[in-house]
């Protein structure tokens, strides 16, 4: 047996499997089944951490997830994880663990000097100082505070592990696998319900795992648990999840669980997720969360070696560890007597039981006395002694009037405290369940909830084991709609833990200098809480925020009830008048990566690739993200930078022809007898007169009158339109169409189908486009006469169905060849081959932008920003004057939307033709206007135009159309302002001759 404090023949650890790990560089020997805390305690070591503010030496207070003190960092490199609870971390061979928040070492921490300054550092001290001199806060004081604060260090390498997500559905979710949860799950499972039972620990059983006294159906509790778990596992409709915490209770019974799969394994399988989040939609939820023992608040209550009585019992029975040689028990209830008896039975000395109650009695008390343990009624603990480990405590009598007399100091190396049990209400409260204060128990209990949830067992104040089991069965049956459930007989059990204590223990003297901790981790003392009240912080939320009590990583599990009691006592008001702080999820901390789940790296967001992506990649294209799409931005040749490549692509389009993958354009088929009427109502344009086989530029406004989207629309048939939208607007336009159609105009016989991905679009643009295309279209006459600009034809291209639009976003003769996506690459290849002889050139989105800017075509989202009307962007011509109504019509008549000083789209030229303005530059009236100044407008698009061999830009300028020929200035960030002239935004071929070629 390794570990001087390990007791042979006790505990559930596997002593045949020794495990060696490192803590702060030292080898520690434990056994399979140990936690870091139990293994260290087995070596007699309580000191495991340092507190947040005063850097006080600390040991474990608990044996579970409520641990505030024993926080450690575990792992190395990318797997290093800070702030884990040593009481929960299961050891494995080769584990590397370190203590935190100490320098240079856990035993000698320079930060502990803060304790000396404690009188100067009461709650909220930082609000009162560090204000002088001004500007020193974030340069001097704050960095100091920050270095002192924080717990573990943050990881500094990416996490190599992966995480999983799973949606699950069940009839009954049981949260907590203690006696109530096991009973509820079995009852519901036997009734045929789909059941999920989860427990945060490595195995189910809860309090039964440390109860060596009670007998259920004649079985020791541990054996009973094994039997019930086996029964549950036999039921195909029951899912048992261990190491799995229910941490978030969301609306409509959506409960999130966090399952830890690998952290306890030395060599996890490669594909095993580290954690999995279960999103469980449960028809009914049974909360069997149990109750947590309360710490006692007295001077020096934070010394290593002072812990909850239940924790010592857990270390004894689960891990075979004696937490000390000589214990003092301080209690206000009966449960701690059972612990004292267990300790004594295991050979530890129990020096005394100090009972705060005036006249404790009953079988447990008698049993303790019978065992020779000194029981001191009406006794408080005045103070604990020791530094890195408790060495003794002064136990002092409490008089009938509450005054504390002179006590005696008893030496010990372990102090066990029990302030009674606080039901765990976190999930119930997250479910928006009401809470009610129970005077008899002195704690809050669950009340009504809006969700389909019920609590069972000690989390609703039911403590006696037989009652707990019955309560669990009843809850399970009620949730599952079952009639009869299992019945067990408990033949031996302790009386339920009545009594209890909350607040500061009685003491002698005012204790102004005493450090009696309420919140261990955050170093909040009883006098801090009192100070907050003194300073007017009366709401418990204010006290929490001013003192930070309850805001540590245990989220107040051990501290909230004591803080509430102190405030209640000071104000002389009942606890329910003070309130209770909101229980905020998660119940226990949950890894960021687990939330991210599969959404990682390339799979963070869908990556949508257009049909000719592989071809573009093979050509060496450079890409850009546009929404979820990745589009080819330009196609550099050897030695070309972006500017050179784009200029070449633009020149090729103007001189010969270019080919462009425009497939990401949104496309919607609008079909039905009322299609034209729908289009009339939806677009600002008029559609009735658009002939079949013709296209028109369409503009969509919101009912606010502002431009929303645009695109070319072709009329396929009298009752059928092929609508295009911008790439980014595809989903939004379709949704908006459905909205108006379904809710405003349900009488219309028209239906919408997204065809964005049905049709790939190959744009072929340039003066030779027709020459390239004509031989490929299976006899279709695409001559200028037969198929003029803005014509639309259906046909085939090499046998592939085609919708051919003669449209242009470049100002050149151009076509958009729509073909089914699966055949797009083949058609593209054919066009590419046919164009080779002409010098056909692929171009990307950047050249597309330049070419359209040369023509003064707007891009919605670049020229417009959600506050532009059609008139602002020079599209008044598109707005029907005769239609009785369309989306945006009423708003477009508002005076403000027709004001002469609205931003209007203009062209902008610099004096220096080589100088390309930066997009986003502001335009002001004078070169040397004093700051701050108001802008007259801003540059929305700016490029070097190969066709004009000079820079061009588009801008939105107040009253811009009336200011043609005048000058403005564009202040630069680090040089003189640039003088610009306002011009017509159509820079190239203003007559449109090339378009109609």
């Amino acid at each position: 047996m390794s570990g001087a404090f390990r007791l042979a023949g006790r505990g559930c650890i596997d002593t045949t499997r020794p495990v060696v790990f490192r803590f702060d560089g030292q080898m520690v020997r434990g056994y399979a089944g140990d936690t870091v805390a139990s293994a260290l305690l087995a070596e007699g070591r309580h000191l495991m951490g340092r507190s947040f503010k005063y850097h006080r030496p600390r040991g474990p207070v608990s044996a579970g997830s409520d641990e505030p003190n024993a926080l450690i960092g575990v792992g190395e490199g990318g797997r290093y994880t800070p702030n884990l609870r040593a009481t929960q971390v299961e050891i494995y061979g080769g584990m590397v663990a370190v203590s935190q928040n100490r320098a240079p070492s856990l035993r000698f921490d320079i930060g502990a000097l803060n304790t000396l300054a404690a009188p100067l550092l009461p709650a909220g001290f930082y609000y009162k100082t560090f204000m002088w001199p001004r500007g020193f806060w974030d340069k001097v004081y704050e960095p100091l505070i920050r270095r002192a604060a924080g717990l573990g260090r943050a990881p500094t390498a990416p996490d190599p592990d992966h995480y999983a997500l799973h949606y699950a559905h069940c009839d009954v979710l049981v949260a907590g696998g203690g006696p109530a949860g096991l009973a509820a799950a079995l009852a519901a499972g036997q009734a045929g319900a789909r059941v999920i039972l989860c427990d945060e620990n490595a195995e189910c059983g809860g309090s039964l795992l440390t109860d060596t006294y009670s007998l259920i159906d004649g079985l020791p509790c541990g054996e009973w648990v094994v039997r019930i778990v086996a029964e549950l596992q036999r039921l195909p409709n029951v899912q048992l999840l261990t190491r799995c915490s229910a941490f978030n209770y969301g609306p409509h019974n959506m409960v999130a669980l966090n399952q830890r799969l690998t952290d306890h394994l030395a060599m996890p399988p490669t594909d095993m997720p580290r954690e999995r989040i279960w999103q469980v939609r449960a028809r009914e939820v049974v909360l069997a969360a149990g109750a947590l023992e309360r710490v006692l608040v007295f001077e020096g209550n934070d010394r290593p070696g002072i812990m909850l009585a239940s924790a010592a019992r857990t270390y004894l029975h689960r891990y075979g560890v004696a937490c000390g040689r000589k214990a003092i028990v301080v209690t206000a209830d009966d449960a701690a007597y059972r612990v004292a008896l267990d300790l004594a039975e295991a050979g530890m000395k129990v020096a005394a039981i100090a009972d705060l109650r005036p006249a404790p009695g009953g079988p447990l008390v008698e049993a303790a006395r019978a065992r020779g343990i000194e029981v001191l009624p009406a006794t408080t603990i005045q103070r604990a002694h020791g530094h890195l480990r408790v060495t003794g405590a002064e136990l002092a009598p409490v008089g009938a009037d509450g005054t504390v007399g002179k006590g005696r100091t008893v030496s010990c190396d372990l102090v066990l405290m029990s302030g009674g049990f606080t039901p765990s209400l976190h999930l119930h409260s997250q479910a928006r369940g009401a809470l009610r204060f129970d005077d008899a128990l002195g704690v809050y209990l669950p009340g009504e909830s809006i969700e389909r949830v019920r609590s069972a067992g000690s989390c609703r104040g039911v403590f006696a084991l037989d009652d707990v089991l019955r309560d669990g069965v009843a809850a399970g049956l009620a949730a599952a709609g079952g009639e009869t459930g299992p019945v067990w007989t408990v033949t031996r059990q302790d009386a339920p833990g009545t009594g209890g204590f909350a607040g500061v223990l009685p003491r002698r003297g005012p204790g102004h200098l005493a450090l009696a901790f309420v919140d261990f981790q955050n170093d909040v003392t009883a006098k801090d809480v009192k100070l907050a009240v003194r300073e007017g912080f009366r709401s418990i939320e204010h006290v929490k925020r001013y003192t930070t009590t309850g805001m540590a990583t245990d989220q107040g599990k051990g501290s909230n009830v004591n803080a509430l009691a102190i405030v209640s006592n000071v104000l002389g008001r009942r606890p329910e008048e003070i309130g209770l702080t909101t229980y905020r999820p998660p119940y226990t901390p949950v890894t960021f990566g687990a939330f991210a789940g599969h959404a990682r790296g390339d799979q963070f967001d869908p990556l949508r690739l257009p049909p000719m992506d592989a071809w573009a990649r093979a050509q060496g294209a450079v890409f850009e993200d546009v929404g979820l799409w990745r589009r080819a931005r330009y196609f550099p040749r050897a030695g070309e930078d972006m500017a050179m490549a784009v200029a070449r692509e633009c020149r090729a389009v103007r001189a010969v022809a270019g080919i462009f993958d425009a497939s990401t354009l949104g496309k919607i088929e609008v079909a039905g007898p009322d299609a034209a009427e729908f289009m009339n109502r939806f677009y600002v344009n008029a559609w009735t007169k658009l002939g079949v086989g013709k296209c028109r530029y369409g503009l969509v406004c919101r009912d606010s009158g502002f431009v929303y989207d645009d695109g070319v629309v072709g009329r396929i048939a009298a009752d059928r339109f092929h609508v295009t939208t911008t790439t980014g607007g595809a989903a939004g336009v379709l949704n908006m169409m459905e909205d108006y159609l379904q809710t405003e105009w349900p009488d219309l016989d028209v239906w919408l189908t997204s065809i964005t991905e049905q049709w790939a679009v190959i744009a072929l643009q340039g003066p030779r486009a027709r020459d390239i295309l004509a031989p490929l279209v299976d006899g279709l006459d695409i001559s200028a006469g037969a198929m003029p600009h803005m014509a639309l034809r259906e046909g085939t291209i090499g046998g592939v169905p085609m919708r051919l639009f003669r449209v242009s976003f470049t100002g050149e003769l151009g076509y958009e060849i729509n073909v089914p996506s699966s055949q797009a690459q083949a058609v593209w290849d054919r066009v590419w081959q046919a164009g080779a002889a002409f010098g056909l050139t692929p171009y990307g989105t950047e050249a597309m932008h330049v070419l359209r800017a040369e023509k003064g075509y707007l891009i919605v989202g670049q020229e417009t920003d959600g506050t532009m009307t059609p008139g602002d962007v020079g599209c008044s011509w598109a707005v029907s004057k005769v239609k009785p109504d369309f989306i945006g019509k009423r708003a477009l008549a508002l005076p403000a939307l027709n004001a002469p000083d609205r931003l209007q789209m203009v062209g902008v030229l610099t004096d220096d033709p080589r100088l390309v303005l930066e997009e986003g530059m502001q335009l002001v009236p004078a070169a040397d206007s004093p700051m701050p100044m108001s802008a007259e407008g801003h540059v929305t698009s700016s490029y070097f135009s190969p066709a004009l061999d000079r820079s061009i830009a588009i801008a939105m300028v107040k009253g811009g159309r009336g200011r043609m020929g005048t000058s403005l200035y564009a202040p630069s960030l680090d040089g003189p302002a640039v003088k610009v002239m306002l011009v017509d935004p159509v820079f190239y071929d203003p007559e449109g001759a090339r378009l109609n070629g």
Partner: protein
């Protein structure tokens, strides 16, 4: 088929003709009749006739996977009633996900309940597979026909494979 997890295989489905029929009840009736069905299937159900399968994705919407003959008859059958008939064969790509763990893999990406009692054989619906819109059709107890828009195909396939990697660890369907 490629095995992506123990007891689960994934395959891309071959190209197929897909038609969206939308209209008021008369149009859906006509479409169903042309496939040889007495009536359109109820919401979220699939019915198959001699002319092909009809998937009821919306109250006014059928996705039709026709046979060659079924395709030919549809236009004529719908002509007398107001309707919309749009071919989307190339809009979607299909996957076949098969095996005992198939439902678990979908449950790693989709909030639906795939228990047979909730999602029986012959049920179809649009839903989400993580961040991609998708259609799921249960063709057999352990067999799902999954469709997504073409450009979401690689994403959804990769997601299914990612889920499959971890699926065998501590996960059992309830």
């Amino acid at each position: 088929m490629v095995e992506i997890a123990e007891g689960c295989a994934l395959a891309g489905l071959p190209p197929m003709v897909r038609l969206v029929v939308q209209g008021r009840p008369a149009a859906l009736d006509a479409a169903a009749a042309s496939l040889g069905l007495d009536a359109p299937p109820p919401m979220l159900r699939v019915a198959s006739g001699v002319g092909g399968s009809a998937l009821r994705l919306g109250p006014f919407e059928l996705l039709i996977l026709p046979t060659l003959e079924g395709r030919a008859g549809l236009d004529a059958a719908l002509a007398p009633v107001p309707h919309s008939l749009v071919e989307v064969s190339d809009r979607n790509v299909g996957f076949l996900l098969e095996g005992a763990r198939a439902a678990d893999i979908l449950a790693g990406l989709c909030p639906l309940d795939f228990a047979l009692s909730s999602f029986p054989v012959g049920m179809v619906t649009r839903t989400l597979l993580d961040k991609a819109g998708a259609m799921i059709w249960r063709t057999d107890a352990h067999s799902f026909h999954v469709e997504v828009w073409r450009s979401f195909g690689p994403y959804v396939e990769a997601q299914m494979r990612e889920v499959a990697k971890g699926i065998s660890f501590s996960l059992l369907t309830v």
